[in-house]
Each structure stands twice: as structure tokens, then as C-alpha cells.
């Protein structure tokens, strides 16, 4: 027997949101409700995009903190 339960959808940042359209966002079978935090890692400085040549020859703008 299929266990069907519409639970919720989650926004891209992982927070639960009300279900606006059950047909488009469905959850069949209840996934474990065990949230975690995925801290976003810093990889590059949030500056203006670098050009390819600049990135190639001078590196993508150096250290960027934590």
C-alpha cells in the first residue's frame, strides 16, 4: 500500500514554507524531520565578477576572510 502524505515544500534556503500547490510540490512518504544547518562557505570575495584573463593571470582576487 502506498503511503502518501503531502507534508510541505522547502524554500531553497531550507526553511519550511506552506504548500502553495500540492500537485507541484509533493512529498510521498514522510522523510525524517531532522534539519541541519549547512553554513555557506566563503570561496571568493563578493566583488564584481572578474574577467577570464584577469582570473587566469592574476588569480581570483586573493584571500577573502573566513
Amino acid at each position: 500500500m502506498t503511503m502518501t502524505a503531502v507534508v510541505s515544500i522547502h524554500s531553497p534556503d531550507g526553511t519550511a514554507a506552506p504548500v502553495p500547490d500540492v500537485a507541484r510540490a509533493m512529498v510521498l512518504g514522510r522523510l525524517p524531520d531532522a534539519p541541519t544547518q549547512m553554513p555557506t562557505q566563503r570561496l571568493v570575495r563578493d566583488a564584481a565578477p572578474v574577467s577570464f584573463l584577469r582570473a587566469l593571470f592574476f588569480g581570483p582576487l586573493g584571500p577573502v576572510g573566513t
Binding site: M1, I9, L31, M38, Q41
Partner: protein, 607 residues
């Protein structure tokens, strides 16, 4: 729950660092040597700026070739088998993640059914499966719903097999997995990340859990998936090459990586707390292709795990891990376009703080793997242009001399250089073939004669296809540099023969480039035409090559036996089980009660 921080900051062992240093030095020396010989050859008629540019192109291209050869040589010696680590039953809470995006749910969910049954046979540990759908096509989404019900009925897996579909596929596959971890990650110690076309034996999954448990500092364990079920000429050539050559090159990679191994995005197990703490990917500033979401997220995640002090390991001795590959040059080129963009995007993060040196080097390797064909193309173009624009030889440099001065004949150097470069191309394959004979690995490929014949045919076919693949890669690189985002088109799985007309549509720019090259060579530098014909002729005939290599090969035909792989001789249990389930489901889909709307009758997802 496993610890969220590794106990040690892993450093590459001394032996690994020595192997890396020797390989880098050898590659640079080989590249430098090739460039020096070329300069000597070119200097006979006076070295021009274009000649110098050609030498630079040749230096980088040959260095890259030599690096590949070094990987092959380092990987020649087989590993001692690691398994079994322990016979103790595993107890880590594990979930198998199957991200899907507009795939055929009948085939994909049958894979999940097979793996679920296989893992339950292998262990009493309750292993969960989560199908993470990013499907955007409403009809396919409906079919996923129905086939999921069939999957639960078939396996009795309610409560252990889950399905969810996101309303928006933000962040593509990486975002899909991140979404799962954000809501359910704390429930698991380990997650086996698969692709929609992945298959893995239950025993292999259990063995991977054991290995993760045996080393608490191991953040990610990558298996080496074998390519299976290829049906076309192209698919079978690539499948054979992956089965015959990849283990050697991957061992070479594994010996050089130390604790900073690769992640190829699938058929790998991650330690969930480590992954969650280390691998939250940022959205890069600016628009695609260099900004936006990170496209080739797997390499970045491996680098981030290593940055946080976790080991990332490739275990080439793990068997029972499978994937499917593209069946035509065009499908290969489409996937390659995405990988090209992803790898070039890594230029943005190659200098990110705290990364291990090897991680940066891996990013650089990825970039090189895509610009290498451009460098070869640049070498060919500058050499031809240099010859066209070169002044005629001056036989009387002194106006008062009586006898002409002939330039010294350096043809021998040019031929020696060509043979050397050809040797770099073919040597790793010859050494691998020797290794396969010595270790009797050839028996898995239909015997020594059949294996060697396949190696020869592989070399010939790849030589014919190489200029076509080079043209696609070159176009991809220029598209990315011009800022064109290739997006993430769905994969077209399974065999699909392309007609010559379809192939022409996909390759007319290659034909045009080849014809222009031939005309230029014929009218301007006819004496070097023989040197460029091996490149230009396949380009001109690329529609025929693409169409012919996409043709399906009957499993019983002589040509099918040519590229025999171990999985074709002995069908792995998981493949047999998948076939069995799929056959049963296809019967269900064809029953009159199922009706015309039955999703089993649906065509596979098309790009």
C-alpha cells in the same frame, strides 16, 4: 552520530609528495624539451614571433600529454586489495540519495528497487533511499508519482524509501542534495550520493559503510564506477576504454592524491556531518558562466572537505559500482559543454583561502583538460600561418658570394618530435595493455587476442574521432569565454542512432572549419598538407563519423565482441536484478488496464 570535526589535519604522506614532484618535473621537462626542439627546427629559416608562439603552445600541450602519461605509469602497479575491512556488521545510519531531473521514472525507480532489494539481502541494517526529484516536466512528474507507488509495492519499502519533488530546482543537483540535508540530514551518519543512471551492489554499499566507519577522519569515499550497458559504437568504445584503461589511470591519480582525493558527484559516500559542516556552496557573484551557482560542484565539495581537514579518498578496488555513459559524440559533447563551463568556472575559486595545494592543482588540471585541445588547435593554426607568412629562404645572404647557402635540413628533428608526441599518446596505452597481459586481466576482456584487438581498434577509432571531439571542446571553451551559459540540459539516456542529417545539424561548423583549413593548406602551404590531413579529413567527414558511431551494435555481432568488457561476460547481479524488475514493470505498463496514460509507455526524457 559521527564527530563533526576531524581529529587531525591530514597532510599528504612524504611518498605521495615525492611522486607528485617527480611527475610534475618530468612533465615540465618533456614539454620544455619538445618546445626546445621545435625552436631549433623553426630557427633554420629565422625564428619569427609566430614561431615562438607556436613553441609556447607546444610546451603547454606536450606538458599536459606528459602529465597524462605520468598518471598512467604511476598507476601501473596494482593495489593490494583492501577488502574486507572488517566482518563486523555495519551500524551507521545510511541513506542512498538518487537525484533525478526529467528522467524516465520507470527505468530509474527500477534501479532503486534493485538496489534496495540488494542491500537488504546484504545487511540487516535499515538503509534508506531518498529519490530527490527536480523534475520540471509535469507529465514526467505525474509518472514519477505513479511509479513511486509501484516501487513501494514491489519492495515493501514504505518508511524506508522516500520521494520528494522540489517546487524550484534552485542550485540544480547540489541545491537538491543541500535541500535534503537541510531538512533531514541530522537523521543520518552517511549518505551515498548517486546519479539517476547509477547502480551499486548491496555488498558494495555495505563495504563502503564499513570503510567509513573504520576511518573516522574519512569525509568522502569515492568508488570507481564501471560504465555499463553501452549499445552504440561510440558508447562501446568509451565503455571499453573506461574498463580497460581507467583503472590504471585512476590508480595513478589515487597514488598522487594522498588524502585529497576526487569527488565525481556520484557513486560516492559522504560522512553527513562533515559534508553539512563543510560543503555549503556559495552563489558566486556575477552572471553565468563564471558567476552564479557552482556548476561542477563535486570538485569544489571535495576541496572544501579537504580544507576542513577531512580525508577524501578514491578506492579503486571497490567493485560493484556502475554508471551509464553517453551513446553518441553529440551527447558526449553536450555533457562536455557543461563540464567545460564548470571547470573553467573553477578559475574563480582556485585561489580561495585555505585550500590544499593539491586541490588547487586539481582545479588547474580541470581547466587544462579543456583548454588542451584549444592549445593544440592554436599550435596547428600558428604553425600553418607562420609557414604561409614566412619569407622565402635567402640563399645568398652575402651579395658577393658565388655559391648559394642552403639552410640545414632539420626535417629529422621535426619527424623525431612528431614521433615523440605520438609516443606520449600511445605509450600509456601500450603499458596498460602490457600490464593487463602480465596480470592476466585480459581474460576479463575476452582473452588476450580479443583485448589487444580492442585496444588497436580503440586507438584507431579514437584517432578518427579526436579531431571532432577537439572541435567541440574548442567551441565550448570559446562559448564560455564569450560569456554564454550552456545551462544544464537533461541527459538523453540509452541508445539513439543519429541520422546523417541530424549529425550534419550538430557538426556543420566542424565541416566548414575543416574545409577552410584544407583550402588554406592546399593553396598556401601545400608542403605541410600531409601533416594536417589526419586532423582535417575527420573534421570534413564529421557528420558521417557522428552518425556511424551512434549506430547500435547487436550484442551478438562480431563488432560487439570487439569491445567486450568484464560486465558483458559476467552480468553483475545488480544489473540482472534491474533487468528483471524492469521487464516485469514493462509488462505491467503494457496491460490493457494500464491505459494509454500509463507512464511506462512514456518515451524516455529527451534533451
Amino acid at each position: 552520530m559521527s564527530a563533526t570535526a576531524p581529529r587531525i589535519q591530514v597532510k599528504a604522506p612524504r611518498r605521495v609528495r615525492l611522486v607528485r614532484a617527480v611527475a610534475v618535473a618530468l612533465s615540465l621537462t618533456t614539454g620544455g624539451g619538445a618546445a626546445a626542439i621545435f625552436v631549433q627546427y623553426s630557427a633554420v629559416n629565422g625564428l619569427t614571433p609566430l614561431g615562438l608562439v607556436s613553441a609556447v603552445f607546444l610546451f603547454f600541450s606536450t606538458t599536459w600529454l606528459a602529465w597524462g602519461a605520468c598518471l598512467g605509469v604511476v598507476g601501473l602497479k596494482p593495489f593490494h586489495l583492501r577488502r574486507p575491512f572488517t566482518h563486523l556488521p555495519p551500524n551507521g545510519r545510511t541513506v542512498v540519495l538518487v537525484p533525478v531531473f526529467n528522467e524516465d521514472p520507470q527505468v530509474t525507480f527500477a534501479r532503486v528497487a534493485a538496489m534496495y532489494l540488494s542491500v537488504n539481502k546484504a545487511t540487516a541494517l535499515p538503509v534508506h533511499f531518498a529519490i530527490l526529484s527536480d523534475t520540471r516536466d509535469a507529465a514526467i512528474a505525474k509518472a514519477e508519482d505513479l511509479w513511486f507507488a509501484r516501487l513501494l509495492d514491489e519492495t515493501g519499502g514504505a518508511g524506508r524509501i522516500f520521494y520528494r519533488r522540489r517546487a524550484q530546482n534552485t542550485g540544480r543537483k547540489a541545491g537538491n542534495i543541500e535541500d535534503f540535508f537541510a531538512r533531514s540530514g541530522a537523521a543520518y551518519d552517511f549518505a551515498l550520493i548517486l546519479d539517476a543512471d547509477s547502480l551499486m551492489e548491496g555488498d558494495t554499499i555495505v563495504e563502503m559503510i564499513r570503510r567509513m566507519e573504520a576511518d573516522p577522519d574519512l569525509g568522502l569515499l569515492q568508488s570507481l564506477p564501471a560504465v555499463v550497458r553501452a549499445q552504440s559504437v561510440f558508447g562501446r568504445v568509451m565503455q571499453f576504454a573506461a574498463a580497460f584503461f581507467s583503472p590504471v589511470f585512476s590508480r595513478g591519480l589515487a597514488r598522487m592524491q594522498g588524502h585529497t582525493g576526487p569527488f565525481w558527484g556520484h557513486n560516492a559516500m559522504v560522512r553527513v556531518p562533515a559534508f553539512v559542516a563543510s560543503c555549503g556552496l556559495p552563489v558566486l557573484s556575477g552572471p553565468p558562466p563564471f558567476g552564479g551557482h557552482i556548476l561542477s560542484h563535486d570538485y569544489v565539495e571535495a576541496a572544501l572537505l579537504a580544507r576542513a581537514g577531512w580525508k577524501v579518498r578514491l578506492d579503486t578496488d571497490l567493485k560493484g559500482s556502475y554508471e551509464e555513459g553517453p551513446e553518441s559524440i553529440v551527447e558526449h559533447a553536450k555533457r562536455d559543454r557543461r563540464w567545460c563551463q564548470g571547470n573553467l568556472q573553477h578559475l574563480r575559486i582556485i585561489a580561495a583561502p585555505g585550500l590544499r595545494k593539491w586541490s588547487r592543482f586539481v582545479f588547474l588540471q580541470g581547466v587544462f583538460s579543456y583548454i588542451a585541445p584549444v592549445l593544440w588547435a592554436g599550435f596547428l593554426i600558428t604553425v600553418v600561418t607562420d609557414r604561409v607568412t614566412a619569407p622565402p629562404p635567402d640563399y645568398f645572404p652575402d651579395p658577393h658570394q658565388f655559391f648559394p647557402v642552403f639552410p640545414s635540413d632539420e626535417t629529422a628533428k621535426a619527424i623525431g618530435l612528431a614521433i615523440g608526441i605520438f609516443g606520449l599518446l600511445i605509450m600509456p596505452k601500450l603499458l596498460t595493455a602490457t600490464e593487463a597481459i602480465v596480470t592476466r586481466r585480459t581474460r576479463q576482456f575476452g582473452g588476450t587476442f580479443n583485448a589487444l584487438l580492442s585496444v588497436l581498434a580503440d586507438f584507431i577509432l579514437l584517432s578518427i574521432m579526436a579531431p571532432v571531439l577537439m572541435a567541440y571542446q574548442t567551441r565550448s571553451v570559446f562559448q564560455v569565454l564569450m560569456g554564454r551559459d550552456g545551462g544544464w540540459p537533461p541527459n538523453r539516456r540509452g541508445g539513439a542512432t543519429l541520422t546523417v542529417a541530424e549529425a550534419w545539424e550538430a557538426s556543420r561548423f566542424i565541416v566548414f572549419s575543416g574545409v577552410v583549413g584544407l583550402v588554406v593548406a592546399h593553396f598556401l602551404t601545400v608542403h605541410i598538407i600531409l601533416w594536417v590531413l589526419p586532423v582535417l579529413v575527420p573534421m570534413i567527414f564529421s557528420p558521417l563519423i557522428i552518425s556511424w558511431t551512434s549506430r547500435l551494435v547487436a550484442p551478438s555481432s562480431h563488432r560487439a565482441r570487439l569491445f567486450t568488457t568484464p560486465e558483458e561476460i559476467h552480468t553483475p547481479p545488480i544489473l540482472a536484478l534491474h533487468d528483471e524488475i524492469l521487464a516485469r514493470w514493462e509488462k505491467i505498463a503494457r496491460t490493457p488496464e494500464a491505459g494509454a496514460d500509463t507512464p511506462g509507455l512514456m518515451e524516455p526524457a529527451r534533451a
